[in-house]
Amino acid sequence: MILTKVSIDGVTKRFGEVVAVDRVSAGIEDGEFFALLGPSGCGKTTLLRIVAGFELPDSGKIYFGGEEMTDVPPNKRGTGMVFQNYALWPHMTVKENIEFGLKMRKMSNDERAKRVAHAVELLRLGGLEARSPLQLSGGQQQRVAVARALAIEPQILLMDEPLSNLDAKLRIETRTELRKIQRELGITVIYVTHDQEEAMSIADRIGIMNRGQLLQVGSPRETYLFPRSLFVADFIGQATWVQGNVSSKDEFVSVTTPVGSIRGKFAPGTDVDVGGKVIAVVRPEHLSLRPMDQANEIRVKVSALSYLGSVTRVFGQSTGLNLIADAEADASLSVGQDLALYFRPKDTLILASE
C-alpha cells in the first residue's frame, strides 16, 4: 500500500504583490524522492519552507501522513532540513552540530552517542568530529549538514539546493551518494533544485514549478517524454518547437506551420479543434539526418555546431525557426551548409498554444 506522506493542499503564499506559491496541491508518497524543479524565483523554496513550517501559507493546508501540520510550529514538525548554505553553527564542533537535534529531544547520552556514531559513519565523517565546521571543505560541510538532519531520524527530509555550492564533479558524486542513503533509510525526501539534470537523475518523481504554479508532476521519463506545457518541454531537456494550426485530426494530428505541414500526436490531456493554435515539440535526439518513412521533414541552414563528445549538436535555422538536433559525433557538417532533418510523427508532441 502506498501512503501519502506529505500532502500539500491548495497552498497559496503571497509576499506583498508577488504570488510566490499559487494554489499548489501535491502528494508525496512514503519513501519517495521528490524533486521540486524550476527556475529561480518560481516559488519552489518557498513551498519547501512552508512544508518545513518557516512560512505560513495564506491559504491551503499541509498534512504529514494524514495529520494536519499547517499551524504546527517548525520545531514540532520533526522534519530534517538541509539548507543551501548548510547553516552549520561555527561556534560548535562537527559532533556538537550533529548532536544538537538529539539534545533538543532530551535523549540519553548513550543514545546520543550511538546516533551520532551512526550518522558519522553513514556520511563518512569519521575523524572530523572534533573539528570546527570552518576547518572543513565544502563537500565535508555538506555531509555534516546532511548528517545533522539525519541524526534525528526524521521521516521527512527537506533539502534546499543542497548541492549548488559544490563543484560539478563533486555534485555528481554526492547526489549518487544521497540517493543511496535515502534508499537505505527509506525516508521521504523533498528536494529543491533548479538543475533539471540533477532532478532527473536523483528523483522518483519531479514536480515542475513556474511562477508559483506546479505545472506538472511525474517521473523523469514522463515529464521528458510527455510534457504537458511548452514550459515543461523547454525546461526539461532541449527542444525545438514550431507554432502552427491544426489542419486535420486522424491517427495523427496534422499541423500547418511556416516550415510546411508537420504530423504529430497530442500530448496526454491535450485536444485542440481543427484550426486551433498549437505548438509542435521535438527533442534533439529525434531529429535525424537520415530520411525515414512517413517522417516529417524540415530543411534548414546550419547556423552553429557544438561538439559534445557523444554527439554533435546542430543548431539550424529555417524561416524564423531555431532547431536543435543531435547528429552522430563524427558527422561531417559545416556551418552554412543546407540540411534536411527528419523526424517521426510519434516523436512529435503537439501542445495547445498558450
Binding site: 510550529p73 514540532k76 547553516a87 561556534h91 544538537f100
Partner: protein, 601 residues
Amino acid sequence: MDGLSWVMLIAAIIFFTAFMLVPILSILYNAFIFNGQPSLRVFDLMLSDPYYFPLKAYVDSNFPFLHLDLRVRGSLFVFQGTDRLIFSGYDLGVILNSLQIALATSLLATVLGTCLAFIFARFSFRGKGALNMLIQVPLLFTPFVGAIGLRRMIHVDGVLNILLSDYLHILPFRIGLEGIVAVIAVQVLTFYPIAFLNSFNSIVNIDPTLEEQAENLGAHGFGLLRRVIFPLALPGIEAGAILTFILSLEDLGTPLVFQGTAAEKTLTYQIYSKMFSPIGDIRPEATVLALFLLMFSLVSFFLVRKYVSLRKYAMVSRGGTWKPRSQKATGWKSIVIYAFIFITLAFAMLPHIGVILLAFGDVWGATLLPVRLSLRNFTTAFSDPTVISALGNSLAYSGVATFIIAFLGTGAAYIVSRKDIPGKELFDTLVTMPMAVPGVVIAAGLFFTYIGNPFLSPLINPGPLLIFAFSVRRFPFTVRSSFAGLEQTHVSLEEAAINLGASRIRNFVSIVLALIFLNVLSGAMLSFIYSMSEVSTSLVIGSANPRYGPLTLKMLDVLYMLAGGPGVAAALGLLLMAMQAAAIGLSTMLSRQRATALVGV
C-alpha cells in the same frame, strides 16, 4: 510572530515610551503654556530678545513698512594691545549660536576626518597602524577635563603660546581662542574621529573592482577619486558629518568649561542653567530652548536616516576576490601625508597632554610646564570619601544600565534584523533615536516627569532615574553592535536549530546569543564606558541629591570648589580615560572590527 519576539518588542517599546517619549513630550508641552494657558507668548518674548535671537522684525508706518534689525555682537577676532590676537567669534544669540557652532564643527571635523580617511584607506606607509590608533585617541573622551586640558594649552597664557611666542619666537604675538571659536576648536578636535571612522569605513567597503573597472575605462588619480571613490563613499561621509553635527549640538561639557564667555550663550548651557526655578518648577524659557535644540537634532537625524540610507549603495558584487587597494606612499606624497598626520596629531593630542600635565602637575602657573610633578592630585582625589562614593555610584549605575541595555538592546536588534512586522521602520527609529535626543532634554524631561514618583524621584535618590537615563542614552551602541553581528549571521543558522526541535528561547540563547556574543559584549562595554563619562543627565538628575550623585557631577564639583581643583579633576579624568582606552581596545579586539557601534546612524 513568536512569543519571545513579542516580549522583546513590547519590553523595548514600554521602556522607550516611559523613559524617552513621555519625558520629552512632557517638557515640550510646557513650551506652549504660559500662566496655565496655551500660548505662544514665551516664543514671542524670546524671539524678540537679542540675547536669544538676533533678528527683529517690526512694522513701521514710515517707508519701508517692514524693518529687520540684525543685532549681531562681537567680531571674529580682535587685537588686545600689540601682542595678543584673540579669536572669539560672532554672537548671534543663543539659538543661532548653537547652530553656527554645530555647523562649523561638523564641517571642519568632516573635512579633517575625510582627508585622514582617504590617506589611511588608500596609502600604506611606515607606522600606519600606530598612527591610525593615535589619530583616534580623541575617542577617549573625558568630560570637562579634556576641554580644561585644551584650554590650558591654547589659552592666551597657555603652553602653546608660551612655547611658540616666548620661547621659539615663531609667532609675533600670542593667539587666544575664546567663546564661540574656543568651543568650535575643542569640539572639532574631540569629534573628528567620528567623521574619520564613518568615512574610513565607507571607503574600505567600496568594492575594489568598481575602482578597477573605472581605471580599466581610463579614469585615474584625482578623476578616479572625484568620479568614483568619493561618490561611493559619500553616504558614509554624510552620516559622519551629521553625527558630529548632533554631538556638537548636544555637547554640554565644553560650554561649561568656557563658562563666563560667549560659550555660555549656547542652547545646552542655557537649558542646563535655566531649567529650574528656585521653587523647582520648570522654566518656560528652558522648555522653548529645549524645543529648538530637539528640533535641530531630530531634523538632522531624520535627514540622515532618509536621505543617506536611500543612497547607501548596496554592494552588488558577486563572487571574485576582494583585494583592497592601497598604494605605497613615496616621495612628496609621503612627506605631505606625514606632515598632515603629525600636525593633526599635535593638535588632537593637546587635550590629553594637557590632562596628563594637569593631573601630575603640582604647581602650575603661567609657565610652559608645571613647576613640579607629583602624585598629589591623585592622593587628594582618592583620599576624599565623597569622591570614592561618587565613583562607586557611577560604577553601579552604569553597570545596571549596561545590563538593561544588553538585555533590551539585543532583543531590539533581533527584531529589527529578523522580523518583518508592520511599523518596523518606526521601531528601528525609536531605538536609535536616543543618539539624536540631546542629553539635557532627556534629563530635564525625566526630572520633570518623575519628580513626584515615590520610587524614582531624584530628590530622594537620583540613582534609579540615572540608571534609566543612562540606559536610554547609551542604548544605540549595543543595538548597533548587536545588529551588525546579526547581519553577519545567516538566518538559516537559526532555522536549522528550530527545524531540529529547538524552541524560540533555546534558539535565541544557544544559537543567536552564542553567535553574536562578542558583538553584544563589545557594544555593552562601550555603553558602560560612555555611561561612566556621561555629562548632561548626570549633572541635571544627579544634582537633585548630590549625596548619591555620579562621578561626573563630583568632577564638576571638584573643578570649581576645591583649590587646585582642575588638577584633581584631571586626575579623575585620567582614570576615566584609562578605562575607556581599555574598553575600546578590548571591544575592538573582541569584535575584530573597529567601532561598529560608532559608525553610521
